[in-house]
């Protein structure tokens, strides 16, 4: 079975191609069947592979063909399955299938139904290739592939330029990271002579020792790719804008799968990162800093999807923190649980948006608890998991991260403390959302309740968001063991209680004492801070000023080809000479004779000036 693992990415890919070619000839029903079915089948196959893997957990490698072979460079189109890959595949196909199903209803009224599923299927295929790749070049193929699909899907409603802008931003910002990663690949290939991940890790640990500068550079370059794709500081600014895409897309790409590719990359190359403590620290600090910053921003947003987007950035920050402190398993674990509950939240918000005539502003919602009960419950469960309330999936994973961070020597407690602060804010903003949207007075009437294609995924994800924490991941063979020394009890108690405190604060602020808080937020200082946070710490503005504007100015300066000025000058010079010389051709004979005379004298002068040395 596992030898045919290439069939799994092929299914959605083939379906995607089919959808593109035959888009005009397929009915909506068959499009949905094809689009959803292919991913469903892929999910089933993945499940089969996973079951097989449980009984026999030796990693498998399937080589299809050699991509290109020049001298020693011989990357292959080859897949490799181990525990980590399998976890990722399950998440991708599983959550992917649910979201496809959800989409089939969500996108019902859209003209470009087939195009949507074509893109979405292609995304699944690319993402599967990314995680299945046994060498970094193939991984990069998937990596860029998902980037393109993300671009296509963010800009899916292409006739609105704002969507296009968001899509471009998403692609280009991640491309900056990707380029760093590609340079990293070049470095690794040049230094170590291979891109096969396992060989690479082996050679790296043989050839380099801990603390060398080369592994640090390589790690930082790979990290560049990771922070771009995973929307970490400072390349995170694309993600909130990427919410311009259809909501299921945000759920699939910008919450559950693609944005966690960076986490996967670092986890996949953890041996390399282990060679460079400073790179690890960087990962951890970027993670925690992003986490706090995004959480703070999420607190003041009013667009439901942007809140979730910032929360995604923040949660991935946690994963980075985990990776940075060497808690690989915890990081991947959180990746999975996050995929469940964040997909849930996004789909929930999608349901709301779907039913509220594309309303995004949470302050125009309210009281939806009774009108959309399924959505309410799923949103509640999702938020609980996001806030890491005890017994939810998010609790287990986040707790694991915080505890392992705490155990980190030197600044471990600091990281833990910061993580806790983040957790507190997370709890506040997630329940702020719940309270504002589902409680209070209704401001907009939903025109319908969701159908089964939307309800089913929500339900399943609800279940996963709760029980996901009890899964045990087959990662023992993949990652080195971390010392599982138990931290002091008070640490754990605080870790558990902080989110609860957050929920309480949210309750006071956004439900119980809403008016008082409202008046408080009207003060200028808070306004200004709020403004600052809302704008995402003004980072967009900064980038605009230091990069985008100058680049555009430069482009405008080059629009009319400044180099041509030089050639034009030559042309003008020649023309001027021509004009002046033409003026000498006056048609007057006397003038002609004068010219001859001058010529005669000049010739005589040159001829007689130099003594005849030749004789």
């Amino acid at each position: 079975m596992r030898d045919f693992v290439w069939f799994i990415p092929l299914l959605p890919l083939a379906s995607s191609v089919l959808l593109m070619i035959a888009s005009s000839r397929l009915t909506r029903r068959s499009v949905a069947l094809l689009g959803v079915g292919s991913v469903g089948l892929a999910a089933v196959l993945t499940g089969a592979v996973a079951l097989e893997f449980l009984s026999d957990s030796t990693p498998v490698e399937v080589t299809l063909w050699t991509w290109m072979k020049i001298d020693s460079l011989a990357p292959r189109i080859s897949f490799y399955i181990d525990g980590l890959t399998l976890v990722m595949m399950c998440v991708i196909t599983g959550v992917g299938f649910l979201i496809h199903l959800f989409s089939s209803e969500f996108m019902q009224d859209d003209d470009s139904y087939a195009r949507y599923f074509a893109y979405l299927n292609m995304f699944i295929a690319a993402m599967l290739i990314l995680v299945l790749a046994d060498n970094l070049l193939l991984l990069y193929l998937g990596w860029e592939g998902v980037g393109v699909c993300s671009y296509l899907l963010v800009g899916f409603w292409y006739r609105d330029s704002a969507n296009g802008r968001a899509a471009r931003k998403a692609f280009i910002v991640t491309r900056i990271g990707d380029t760093a990663m590609l340079i990293g690949l070049l470095l690794l290939l040049t230094e170590l002579g291979t891109l096969n991940i396992r060989t690479l890790m082996q050679v790296a640990s043989e050839q380099w020792s801990i603390g060398d500068s080369l592994p640090t550079i390589a790690c930082l370059l790979l990290l560049g790719g990771a922070i771009g794709k995973s929307a970490q500081f400072p390349l995170h600014t694309w993600l909130p804008d990427a919410m311009a895409g259809p909501t299921p897309v945000s759920a699939l790409i910008h919450a559950a799968t693609m944005v966690t590719a960076g986490v996967y990359l670092i986890a996949r190359t953890h041996d390399l990162f282990l060679l460079s403590p400073s790179a690890m620290h960087t990962v951890a600090f970027i993670g925690i800093a992003t986490s706090l910053m995004a959480a703070g921003t999420a607190l003041v947003q009013s667009d439901i999807k942007r809140i979730l987007a910032y929360s995604t950035i923040s949660q991935i920050g946690y994963m980075f923190l985990a990776l940075g402190v060497g808690a690989w398993t915890a990081g991947v674990f959180h990746l999975m649980t996050h995929a469940f509950f964040k997909a849930l939240l996004f789909l929930g918000s999608g349901a709301i948006i779907h039913c509220l005539h594309h309303e995004h502003n949470i302050f125009k919602m309210g009281g939806l608890r009774t009108r959309m009960p399924i959505t309410f419950w799923s949103f509640l469960i999702g938020s609980a998991a996001l806030a890491a309330l005890p017994m939810t999936a998010g609790f287990f994973s986040k707790d694991l991260i915080l505890l392992q961070a705490y155990q980190r020597p030197d600044f471990g407690p600091w990281l833990w403390g910061a993580g806790l602060l983040g957790a507190l804010i997370t709890a506040i903003y997630s329940f702020r959302l719940v309270f504002i949207v589902f409680f209070g007075d209704a401001k907009t009437e939903p025109d319908r309740e969701i159908g089964w294609q939307m309800a089913l995924p929500l339900t399943v994800l609800c279940a996963l968001s709760i029980i996901g924490g009890y899964f045990s991941l087959p990662l023992a063979d993949v990652f080195p063991l971390v010392n599982a020394e138990h931290p002091p009890h008070w640490v754990e108690i605080i870790s558990i209680s902080v989110p609860l405190l957050g929920v309480f604060l949210a309750y006071i602020g956004f439900y119980g004492q809403r008016p008082r808080i409202d008046s408080w937020t009207k003060t200028p200082l808070v306004q200004r801070v709020g403004q600052f946070l809302r704008s995402g710490w003004r980072l967009d503005e900064v980038f605009d000023r230091i990069a985008v504007k100058p680049y555009y100015n430069l482009a405008n300066a080059l629009q009319n080809e400044p180099i041509d000025r030089f050639y034009e000058a030559i042309v003008r010079l020649n023309q001027a000479i021509h004009r002046h010389l033409s003026a000498t051709q006056s048609g007057r004979m006397r003038w002609y004779i004068t010219s001859m005379m001058v010529g005669l004298i000049a010739t005589l002068g040159v001829a007689m000036k130099i003594a005849p040395g030749a004789i």
């Binding site: 004779i593 005669l600 005589l604 030749a614």
Partner: protein
């Protein structure tokens, strides 16, 4: 005078006889068709006589030096005269007055040119040059209609006479310094340390070259060229541009080689200055010229500038001396054939007076054969491969490289680069979609179409299969 000498003089004799017959014919029956046929037959006979003379080459007295080189160029010049004849026939057909004198003038002028290319002596040079020139004045002024021919003729007469005076004065100085009037004698005596007044030699030679520079329209003696080219009937322009200039250039080469003028470095420097100026100014002047005949005139200035480079390179060549002479010959042939082709089409399309570029608008669509001929000619002028001009340029660059004349090489390249623009402009004009304004297809008269095609084929043949010509020139 032995029989061999008579044989080698047969071309000159044949031409003179033709002139005589023409005069007699005029007195019997004035009919220009007959005159035309007599001239044509006379020229063909001359060609034959050149062929028969080509096996003998020797000096005839001190005046003429009949060698293979001279004979070859005589043949070429007579070919030019034949083309001119072909073009003239149709031009003067249409005019009411009888025009037989024209053919007489043409034959006389050709005779002058043939003498000129074989001249080895000041006197023969003077006679050849003046015979050629004076007949030309009349030919230029021949059309009765329009003011331009007259203006051109007067200008050409005065300026040319002035140049002749310069030339003669220069020779007088040379004679004063050396005491010999034949080129070879002058060279030998000047070189053998016989002279005590080097400045006189230099001054004389410089003035002579300046006078010749006028005839070749080298800068700064070039100013008459566009006016005369434009004002003269196109057939006469053709004659002037090819036959007159070609003959004078051959004479100049003879003078410089036989008179050993190349030994004087400063003289060569002066020539270099003239060459550089000609290459640049000629091309610059042509750059945006709207009258196509003026354009050809300016381009001829540039081309003779290129040719001058070959002469200047001669003393620097060392063991590749032969290459130098071959280059000159080849380039001259290429230039003459190309010019003939271009002017034939211009005569065809532009008619006699109107040589404005507008007349060529969309010629490709109106008359493809003519347009392609002109395009090929332009490409040949520009030195694009597969045309005669390219092989000429090929020779020239090889030569300049061998002589290591970097300044001249650089100028040559700059000049060629500028030239591409205006040659291409002609082609572009022809490729435009024809305006409604434009009057159908040009009135292509009898002979000219095949003549144009023939010349185009010649240009292409020389460019794509140059080996026969190279062999021929190598044997000279």
């Amino acid at each position: 005078m032995n029989s061999d000498q008579l044989l080698v003089l047969s071309p000159i004799i044949s031409l003179s006889l033709t002139a005589l017959i023409l005069m007699i014919q005029a007195s019997i029956k004035r009919d220009h068709r007959i005159a035309w046929w007599i001239s044509t037959l006379g020229l063909l006979t001359t060609l034959l006589s050149i062929y028969s003379a080509s096996n003998f080459s020797q000096d005839v007295g001190p005046l003429l030096k009949v060698d293979a080189w001279g004979l070859w160029f005589s043949a070429l010049l007579i070919f030019c005269a034949l083309i001119t004849l072909a073009l003239s026939r149709d031009i003067f057909h249409t005019q009411a007055d009888t025009k037989e004198e024209y053919y007489l003038l043409l034959i006389l002028s050709t005779l002058g040119a043939v003498v000129l290319v074989q001249a080895a002596h000041t006197a023969s040079l003077l006679l050849g040059m003046e015979l050629m020139g004076i007949a030309l004045y009349a030919m230029i002024a021949f059309p009765k209609s329009g003011d331009l021919p007259l203006e051109a003729a007067v200008k050409y007469l005065v300026l040319s006479a002035c140049a002749s005076a310069m030339l003669l004065f220069g020779f007088a100085l040379l004679y004063g310094a050396t005491g010999d009037l034949s080129f070879a004698g002058m060279g030998a005596k000047a070189a053998s340390g016989y002279l005590n007044n080097p400045l006189l030699v230099l001054a004389g030679a410089a003035i002579v070259l300046a006078g010749m520079g006028f005839k070749l329209s080298l800068v700064p003696f070039h100013m008459w060229t566009p006016d005369v080219y434009q004002g003269a009937p196109t057939a006469v322009t053709t004659f002037l541009a090819t036959l007159s200039k070609g003959a004078m250039f051959v004479a100049m080469v003879r003078l410089i080689l036989d008179g050993q003028l190349y030994r004087y470095e400063s003289l060569m420097n002066a020539l270099s200055v003239v060459a550089v100026a000609s290459m640049l100014v000629g091309n610059w002047l042509a750059l945006r010229q709207q009258q196509i005949k003026r354009l050809i005139a300016y381009s001829s200035t540039a081309h003779f500038g290129y040719l001058l480079v070959a002469i200047i390179a001669l003393p620097h060549l060392g063991d590749t001396q032969q290459l130098g002479r071959a280059a000159i010959s080849f380039y001259l042939v290429a230039y003459i054939v190309t010019t003939l082709a271009a002017l034939t089409v211009i005569a065809n399309v532009g008619g006699e007076e109107d040589s404005d570029m507008q007349a060529f608008d969309g010629l490709f669509w109106r008359h493809p054969a003519q347009a392609i001929t002109l395009a090929v000619a332009m490409l040949s002028f520009a030195g694009i491969p597969l045309t005669a001009g390219f092989m000429g340029k090929f020779y020239l660059i090889t030569l300049t490289l061998n002589a290591q004349l970097w300044l001249l090489l650089g100028t040559l390249m700059i000049g060629s680069a500028i030239a591409i623009y205006y040659y291409l402009r002609v082609i572009f004009t022809m490729s435009a979609e024809p305006h409604q304004l434009n009057k159908g297809s040009p009135t292509v008269l009898g002979w000219r179409n095949p003549v144009a095609l023939l010349l185009m084929l010649a240009v292409l043949a020389i460019g794509s299969w140059p080996q026969p010509l190279i062999d021929l020139i190598g044997r000279l």
